[in-house]
């Protein structure tokens, strides 16, 4: 929640909300495996985008997925769900 700046309860917002959207959370360093996307196999079905539990996949102007490794925590759901095997999980260096 980005609580470092608070000294005590009085500094907290009255509603239990975060200062920032969850898109700033860097979950990218959690991963052991990272997704590699092969555009040639992609049919733009958007299933990977729908299933990604983090805001790690966005769609470009043509409708192809763009993977933000900053957010990707390496769960592999996208690779598992892709009907065309267009996403592969490979070990992080």
């Amino acid at each position: 929640m980005g609580m470092e700046k608070y000294k005590g309860y009085k500094d907290l917002p009255i509603m239990p909300i975060t200062d920032t959207p969850s898109t700033v959370n860097q979950t990218g360093f959690w991963k052991t495996f990272k997704p590699i996307f092969e555009k040639d196999k992609c049919i733009k079905c958007n299933i990977c985008w729908k299933f990604c539990p983090e805001p790690a996949i966005t769609l470009d102007e043509e409708g192809y997925p763009v993977i933000a490794l900053f957010h990707c925590k390496g769960c592999g759901i996208c690779a598992n769900e892709c009907p065309k095997d267009a996403i592969k999980m490979v070990m992080e260096e």
Binding site: M1, M3, Y6, G8, Y9, L12, P13, I14, M15, P16, I17, T18, D19, T20, P21, S22, T23
Partner: protein, 396 residues
Amino acid sequence: MVKAVISGNSASAYGAKIAKAEVIAAYPITPQTSIIEKIASFVANGEFKTEFVKVESEHSAMAACVAASLTGARTYTASSSHGLLLMHEMLIWASGARTPIVMSNVNRANGPPWSVWADQHDTMAQRDTGWMQIYCESNQEVLDSILMSYKIGESPDIMIPSMIIEDAFILSHTVEPVDIPDQDAVDDFLPPFAPEKKLDPDDPHGFGSLVMPEWYMEFRYKIAESMDLARDRIREVEKDFEKRFGRSYGGLMDFYEVEDADAVLMIGGSVASTAKEVIDKMRKEGKKVGLARVRYFRPFPVDEVRWLAKKVNKIGVVDRSYCFGHGGPIAAEVYGALLPTGDRPIVKNFIAGLGGKDITPEVLERLFNKMLVTNESGTEKEIEWVDVKGHSLGVE
């Protein structure tokens, strides 16, 4: 201002309408249904522009209200009995998320055995949900309390939801004269809801997200602090309301003829109104009796109870519900409030009127007389069930 002869349920519907609730999500249940029907007819006639959401359960109704409130919309719902019980989880969500929703609840017994009649068990079971609770005495108070509760709850330093409570049938389906204030006067009293933060795609935040143990208590303390602060706010808002509309209800606890009283009954809900009539009659006979009406049960009127205990030596607490295991819920609060003080009036707990058993003037007179003669100091027969057939310890 229009003066109309309307039911408590109509008063609730009018309250939501003139408070300009922007989102209403509700599910029908006897005896609350006519609130929803009245609002639906307002919407159908084009008299009330609100987002009326039909849902599949009370749990969903409250979930929809929480989400709507987080978008910055003034939000209203209504329920009763088992419907309120089904809402329980989301009631806690609403107060934790600091959504100042206002709901009407028609006080109805919980089953089984099945009963649709007046009883406070449904709302007393929500004691710890973090909602303010107002037990009303008249249909006018139902309407006025809705207006005041939005103003109190939506204060930036309060942000707590409120439950406006009407006794089943005794208020919900009884018609009596009610002043319906003019829209301009209400708008002037109650400005639009403007929370500091709301769900807004242009200013995204995480709402109600996880907090680590280091900060959970701090957020909960803030609710406790706001609930304590609400006591003064309730009194201030009521003063302002009285100045504008000429009506007031005694803040957290409404006292009647207690100054010189030898014995006082403490009661929540519409029975208090009947008790005032009984007190006038008994005072004419020279019996010094009075009433402390529990208007707010949360926040509890601790200062008022302590003040009362300095004035009178005998307090009979009439609970229209029972906490199985030990005692009535209002009495438990009274004992708790008095323990840290040196004042030790005789406090007795009467359990009466469950499941709509009528609390008549005659019953109240017996309870007053019982208090006037009692010298028991609490531990012996401190809890007495009133008029339970075949129960020898009941008040004769």
